[in-house]
Amino acid sequence: MKEDAKTILDRWRDTGWVIEPEARKVLKLYGLYTAPYSWAMTAEEAVKGAGKIGYPLVAKIVSADIIHKSDVGGVVVGVRDDKELLAVFTRLSSLQGFQGVLLDEMQSGFELIIGSKHDPQFGPVVLIGIGGTSVEIYQDVAIRMAPVTVREAKEALLSLHGSRLMQGYRGKPAINMGSIANLIAKFSEMVYDLRGRISSIDLNPVMCSSRKAVIADARIVL
């Protein structure tokens, strides 16, 4: 087990879950990269961070009190310039438990959820589902015991009812299966390594395009 990951998880044990920028650090330790992002505590930092990421961007509240960010208007998509960013920052900073704003690249593509949970009978399992944040509506998921190989991850993706949607349905480009399968396999190794310390994880959504798969949001529940 990676000590640095353990330290981060231990730090959030009392909170019960790990805030997104910290969760991203854990992922990075296992070679799971998210798009470049910036964690801004002040308006000045936000503008500076936005300069690196470029507009338009996504601004998200960071707060240990807010696990479901969208429910409280804590996610703003398509922020176009400094002026908009400052207005958004001001509003988000008034939300409960404010610990800064996370600025992220805008992503588009086919939405998947890659998740994991500790199952009492089978130990750490990974879940792959279509629909990302709407996964509860589609209920189109595959679940496997972690860890899985890249090949098993591919098979799991192909076992989804909607797998044809990923393979270039009606003129849309096929998503990069190799890249998403690699991500799943790596993720499954991480959750197996951290078994016993994590209750569940959502990488949701993971945005998949013909080029790559990008983790657009991460939540670790302890």
């Binding site: 949970k117 199952d119 009492p120 009978q121 089978f122 589902g129 679940i143 569940s200 959502d202």
Partner: protein, 454 residues
């Protein structure tokens, strides 16, 4: 732990017989085994004396030989002490029938059992269970012989957490003509659980099929189960209860909200060679077909029927389950037609389903079965027979079974189980051809073979 002595004991001690109450479970177990099963049987009660004219031993340690198996049916508080006596006496293992442990708040007593078992490498089934049916050696079900039907011996091993479900399933399988190698109710599974039983049965030479009724695995044992299945050569069928998500727990992640206990169970099992039955009927059908047919790779089915309606229902079921209904080439239909009885030739339909009509007799079914078994486009035949038809006789089963044996391809038969036609059914079943008593059941059998081949 070695379970051989539990399942194939040469001698059995029944501890806890009553000297005054003939209906005490221990008395029933003792009586049954003493009179009907092969293992030498002894009874134990601290009071000593005689029972039905036989010596009652005061302790397992007083029995003149080392018993292979001790069956404990004493008050829960006494179980640990009796277990220790069994260990001292050199017994090979124990089955604890008694209740009154973790299931009724006495987790402490159950932990004591676990400690003794672990410290002495002493295998234990139960507590709070019916134990085992393992003919011809032993049967610890405390159900009087006359209350049950005579269970058929064969090659299917059953494992169940619930004793009630186990007894029901043994009877249902027997009624379907399926024989049992062993059956075990594991109760609270304090020491040995489903995984240990599966491990034993996968190696057991008398067992070819394992059927398990599972309520839930203990912590982490699901993973062990899947690991064990990786090397399993025998078909394993699972029936699961407890599929409804419990309560409305506040769940803080999408993954946890979707991946409930049953969802994970079912998904993970699908990645192994375990075949999950969705209901009791599938469970019995799978156990039956696997006990008869070993051929894998069933995809293309040929339905031969005496009734168009039955053929259509079977075709729907097969199609819905992902099987192909092989198309019969015109030249084959043309070749088969003149081989059939004159009365059938003009009215039969030789597409698939092949409807030979109510005018058909044994010879027409035989001819058609033989004809299609030889075709590459047929992996399996569903034979739907109505015994009311005058042309069908009790010989048809043995004849069709002979053809199936020669070809190596499975033939699955539907015949309504009406008492009157038992001899027809016997003709198939006693010759190794499974018979379903509903069209749906016959379709399940074909689907089971297909799933096993995947």
């Amino acid at each position: 732990m070695n379970l051989k002595k539990i399942f194939d004991p040469r001698s059995v001690a029944v501890v806890g017989v009553s000297l005054s109450n003939p209906f005490n479970p221990a008395n029933i177990i003792y009586h049954k085994n003493n009179l009907r099963y092969k293992a030498r049987t002894y009874c134990v009660n601290p009071a000593g004396g005689t029972l039905y004219g036989e010596t009652v031993y005061r302790s397992v340690t007083e029995i003149p030989e080392k018993v292979d198996l001790a069956v404990l049916s004493v008050r829960a508080e006494l179980v640990p002490a009796v277990m220790e006596e069994c260990v001292r006496a050199g017994a090979g293992g124990a089955i604890i029938i008694s209740g009154g442990f973790a299931e009724s708040g006495r987790g402490d007593l159950q932990r004591r059992i676990q400690e003794i078992a672990k410290a002495n490498n002493f295998p234990v089934i139960g507590p709070n269970c019916l134990g085992i049916f393992s003919p011809p050696g032993v049967d610890t079900f405390f159900l009087p012989h006359e209350r049950l039907i005579a269970l058929r011996e064969g090659s299917v091993a059953l494992v169940s957490q619930s004793g009630g479900i186990l007894v029901d399933q043994t009877i249902k399988l027997t009624q379907e003509g399926v024989g049992l190698s062993r059956a075990v109710s594991i109760g609270n599974k304090a020491v040995l659980d489903e995984v240990d039983m599966l491990d034993f049965f996968l190696k057991d030479r008398r067992t070819n099929v394992v059927g398990l009724y599972i309520e839930g695995f203990s912590e982490g044992r699901g993973r062990d189960f899947i690991t064990l299945m990786k090397s399993a050569k025998k078909p394993v069928v699972v029936l699961k209860s407890g599929k409804t998500p419990g309560g409305s727990r506040a769940v803080s992640s999408h993954t946890a909200s979707i991946a409930g206990d049953y969802k994970v169970f079912s998904e993970v099992l699908q990645t192994s060679s375990v075949i999950e039955a969705r209901n009791e009927m599938e469970f019995v059908s799978y156990c039956e077909v696997f006990s008869c047919c070993s051929r894998k790779h069933v995809k293309n089915v040929c339905i031969i029927t005496a009734s168009g309606g039955h053929g259509a229902i079977a075709a729907d079921g097969c199609f819905h389950g992902g099987l192909s209904i092989a198309e019969v080439p015109e030249e084959d239909a043309a070749a088969l037609r003149p081989m059939l009885s004159k009365s059938v030739q003009g009215i039969c339909s030789l597409e698939n389903p092949v409807d030979l009509t109510g005018s058909a007799g044994d010879i027409d079914f035989q001819t058609s079965v033989k004809f299609f078994l030889e075709k590459d486009y047929v992996d399996c035949i569903l034979l739907l027979l109505l015994p009311y038809l005058p042309g069908i006789t009790s010989d048809v089963g043995a004849r069709v079974a002979q053809l199936a044996r020669e070809s190596g391809k499975p033939v699955i038969t539907y015949m309504p189980h009406i008492d009157k036609y038992g001899i027809f059914i016997d003709g198939f079943e006693s010759n190794g051809v499974p018979v379903a008593h509903s069209v749906e059941g016959a379709v399940y059998m074909a689907l089971g073979l297909a799933r096993r081949g995947r």
